[in-house]
Amino acid sequence: MNGQIEAALAVLPNYLSQHVVLSVAALVLGLLISFPLAIATVRRPALQTPVLTVASLIQTIPGLAMLALFYPVLLALSAVTTQAFGLKIPALGFLPSLAALTLYAVLPILRNTVAGLTGIEPTIREAARGVGMTQRQRLLQVEIPLAAPVIMAGVRTSAVWTIGAATLATPVGQTSLGNYIFSGLQTENWVFVLFGCVAAAALALIVDLMLALVERGVANRDRRKIISGLAVLLVGTFAAVSPLWSGQKAAYVVGAKNFSEQYILAELMAQRLRAQGARVALQEGLGSAIAFRALSSGDIDAYVDYTGTLWTNVMGRKDTPPRDVMLAELTQWMSRERGVTVLGPLGFENAYVLALRKSRAEELGIRSIDDLARQASGLALGADIEFLDRPEWAALREAYGLRFRQQNAYNPTFMYRALTNGTVDVISAFSSDGRIAADNLVVLDDPRHAVPNYDAVILLAPKRANDAILRQALRPLVGAIRVEAMRAANYAVDRDDDKRGPAQAAEELGRAIGVSP
């Protein structure tokens, strides 16, 4: 527990600084957009309904979806600008996060500014015209000062939303306090999840308190409150983002998808690179499809993927050749078509497999999926949420004619629990999952090769194809990690007792396979 909090605190400066930069940028941009828009809207009341409706509609898009949507949009835009001006727009990380959060920040400020400006007493408006103020003078000397408390309330709402929603930037590759939450959810590290939630909430709370002080100052025309509130915010922002100034830009970016094994392997690669004296940053929690695109476009320099995934999803192949043939063809294709280097397999496979408790398998006399198919009509399948929609499941079902009595989808933790307590008989598992050994499960053979191989391979970005440091650091990992070692490392992170953080688990894995720096 203490170790977990220490581990969380160690990365706090990095996560917090990036979170603050993102939130502040989105809020400032949101202000710059919504304020003039509100003034234009107030001057032309015909605009009011359409503008506010569009802004409200944007608000109803779920945060995660909005962030995810900006990735393909920016990718397409980048393709256009690259062709037209040779200018590549980064589609991952800061930019899509900023764009999505800015859109979110707009509505509360817009709505409150419009409400504040239209809510001014008609008598006061008439007096302002009567004393001889121009439209601009009325706006600056009367309308904005009088609407300021309402506008500030909107800024407050916006700030709290933005800080909260910024945690969702993690899956599109922008580091934020959400890294705690997403990596914690994947590795079932509840200390991390809680830490991330508390940190984001505390940040939002402090900012809200200070903005409330400014709001009261604006309402009571108390300059001291305004200045002290703003001063705390300004000093806080500078303090929070200071790690960004001191730290030099990372030379290498190692990517990771969003599950335990990926976090551990990314840490392991990063540790080896650091041992070579390189500066490394991690970009963790990437969506499966996003990771490869991020690598081929150079947003990340290296990450681990799986041959079967690349074979079907990137190459679009449906056949399942033997392991060596697939690897050779994949390596060739990647280099030729995408300029991506397949440095080599790590030595273990993380495939979709079907697993039973050992005692149950012996009881039923099941060893292979063929055996299973004969008894499936009396058995219940538990699957992770993704599995039932994946091509692997379709292939298995077709090849073996699998028809279960019942099929339930679970989140991974509960799926294993359902298996151990007997609610289901068979589960979809990952072959490198630590719980296979820990829960005493057996993995069924796939004699018809319905599911392709999922050998873990290290991929290098096109621009890093001949990078000596990268190759030197990562080469020793090729062929070095046996599935038992990987399972042990995964289990150290996934288990509830004596839990390890990914960095700790990576160090232990490195020592276990004899490549520790």
Partner: protein, 281 residues
């Protein structure tokens, strides 16, 4: 200099002959001409006059008043001030500059709640970029002139009574030394005593500064006591236009004389309560 220009100047100098405010065939409509709030009204106001526009709600008196500072644009007709048309409404800078030269007092006062009493009074002089020392001096003397204690300068409008607010409203209207003051039911929301005091105080200022005042009111008594000339409006038209004295002695229409005689009859009824032998009716 040509003779033509000379003759124009001569005409201007004879202020009594050129009205300061000239309304020509003013019609006002708020529905694009289908109905008329003011229907073909012409009015000339000489320099130094205190004119009351009297009439019921909806008679068009307020709309007519607001054409003079361009807050209402007539559907047809012309407004001339000192022989010059007022700037068009879409020339924001010009119309704003023009309004700085006209004092404007409204029933709900409309003090800017985020400004102190002094800042409210100083608004127009500051818009005119008076030197700050002159602004401060002017504010100080106006606070005294409208009968407010000196230390009220720093108060917020919310801390004032209704009568005090309107004193500030009058001071704000007079701050930039206008020649013309427009007042829309200025004392309408005040209790009768404050109303009387404030009305008389304003009339003194009107004399002292040689102002030309147009006041909208529905109170014939107030109009009679304060003004030099009463213009009675009904359904968008002027139904009579004369001095208070002339209207009191020989009102041309029964509805006008009824209105004018009401205070006298009320006074007689009150006297009857004190001296029962006198017949009230």
């Amino acid at each position: 200099m040509t003779q033509v220009q000379d003759s124009t100047r001569t005409e201007r100098r004879e202020g009594a002959e050129t009205p300061l405010i000239q309304l020509d065939h003013i019609s006002i409509s708020f529905d694009g001409g289908r109905s008329r709030a003011v229907d073909d009204v012409s009015l000339a106001v000489a320099r130094g006059t205190f004119v009351s526009l009297v009439g019921e709600s909806g008679s068009g008196k307020t709309s007519l008043l607001k054409t003079i500072n361009g807050l209402v644009i007539p559907f047809s007709g012309h407004v001339n001030i000192e022989g010059r048309p007022i700037p068009p409404a879409d020339h924001d800078d010009d119309i704003a500059a023009f309004r700085r030269g006209i004092g404007y007092v409204i029933q709900d006062v409309g003090l800017f709640p985020h400004m102190s009493v002094a800042e409210n009074i100083a608004v127009t002089p500051r818009l005119l970029r008076w030197p700050e020392s002159r602004v401060i001096e002017r504010v100080k003397s106006l606070i005294a002139m409208v009968g407010l204690p000196e230390d009220y300068a720093t108060r917020a409008p919310a801390m004032l009574s209704g009568g005090q607010k309107q004193r500030v409203g009058v001071a704000r209207a007079l701050a930039a030394e206008p020649k013309i003051v427009l007042m829309d039911e200025p004392f309408g929301a005040l209790d009768p005593l404050t109303r009387d005091t404030l009305g008389r105080a304003y009339r003194d200022l009107h004399e002292r500064f040689g102002l030309t005042t147009i006041m909208v009111t529905h109170d014939m008594q107030e109009a009679a006591l304060l003004s030099d000339r009463i213009v009675v409006m009904q359904a968008g038209r002027v139904i009579c236009d004369d001095t208070p004295r002339a209207l009191l002695t020989q009102a041309p229409r029964p509805e006008v004389s009824d209105l004018l005689n009401l205070p006298r009859r009320q006074a007689e009824r009150i006297r009857a309560m004190i001296e029962p032998e006198a017949d009230p009716r």
